[in-house]
Amino acid sequence: MAARTRYAPDRGLTVRMTATMFLLGLVFVAFVALIIGIMTAAHASAAAIILIALIFGGGSAYISLFYSDKIALAAAGARIVSPQDAPELHGIVDRLCALADMDKPRIAISPARMPNAFATGRNSKNSVLCVTDGLLYHSGLTQEELEGVLAHELSHVAHKDVQVMTYASLLAIVAGLLVRFAFYSELFGGGRRGGNNGNAALLIPLIMLASAVVYAISFLLIRLLSRYRELAADRSGALLTQNPSALINALTKVSQGMNRIPTQDLRTAEPLNAFYFAPAMKLNGGQSLSNVFSTHPSLKKRIEQLEKIQLELGKPGPDPRGLR
């Protein structure tokens, strides 16, 4: 493609994201190797546990992939709105989709007063973009700022973040299930096994320990990946609207709005966190530690990146005699 484009991709972000995904894959391979090793040494009950965990894990990943839109909409109490119901919202999304050359997602509004937005669905044909009443009416966002938020969410759809994050979470789901199953089988099956095989009594705790470690590592890596995906969506969104400062303003306003809302509301929103525009968690002290666990990068980091894009947009275009 003879691209005349004004901006280069962010190599640093790509490298960090690749490294994260590579580590996640490495943990997965090591885990599978370990499990196979244990299985070859083990008898039927350990193998059955692992098989069941894989089936359950795969099943729940499948469900979250294919029903993510319905589940999320139901959890948020949102309803799909037609262009007649919300002409302005549709107008903004229509234009952004035409600009980005992507399928238009369905649009939903959730009655929550907390200002936020999320996009979900396994691909662009099946995705839903949901905004809350709070974002539309109580956050004081201007139309440009609202557009910035919508462009960020559309970028999540374009990047297929639901798919990527589901695949990335598969390992953690399976490992987490293994811990639980191994624990129960230890609890209920311990007596029967003791007589016939001395090794087996050790195997189950071993699987449990390995799974717990794998779960912890993959959990942190997934959170890291999620933060990178947020930065990537901020970046693509700002480049699409050509208006990073509106997105900065929106982020600031929404984050402030989130902190004013009582905790009760926020907790009910937590399961959806990974897909939200801003995390619905209260940030308290101990920043450095809470950053490791959070699904979203800190406001400071997001704004820093957007300010860099601001500078990029200010640079001259590829044509020296052209506009800027």
Binding site: M1, A2, A3, R4, T5, R6, Y7, P9, D10, L13, M17, T18, M21, P83, Q84, P87, G91, I92, D94, R95, C97, A98, L99, A100, D101, D103, K104, Q143, E144, E147, S155, A158, H159, K160, D161, Q163, V164, Y228, R229, A232, A233, R235, S236, L239, L240, T241, Q242, N243, S245, A246, Q310, L313, G314, G317, P318, D319, R321, G322, L323, R324
Partner: protein, 195 residues
Amino acid sequence: MGFLDTLFGRTKPVQPKLDDLFGLPSAAVQLEAATGFKPTGSGSVSFRAPEGKPFADIQREVLELLAMDDDKPGGGLPVEVTKDSYGYTWIVSNHMSDEMDALVTDLHAVNTELVDGGFGPQLLCTLVAFSDENHRRLSLVYLYKRGTFYPFAPLSGNNNRDNALELQVKNVLGDDLRIEQDLTRWFPVWGAPGL
């Protein structure tokens, strides 16, 4: 988007396809024969200007850009620059209603200049306006990124469009223009300048 782009969460700026615009004059003849809709002589190009500049500056720069090379087609074009309520910049070109060829040449020149200026990924659409004896309005909208056209017929009143007319136009022009087959992409452009 490619697999790697998905993996790394990045979007490539989509470059526009411009040459299909030249199918418009013959389509206009066909349209008039079949439905009685005539070009109004007005057409417009919409794009997203980068932030951080007062609109007056963008306006001036676009006009300068278009007037830059008088020897090129498109040099010194008679155009107006306006901004709509969604924050998009529109460049409107006005001709006589029988000068469809000239209008399309101008619109193509405006687009080419914008692409050369690095605005290719920010181009939204090109729109050509038609009307019939009953003052019904119709426009053909060209989506750069897909290289397709679709009809948009706003009804007077509150954001309604004449879907029957649009589908009729789709059938009439099917042979002359590449019509967007995915109806969900026929996004309305209410209040577009030049319509």
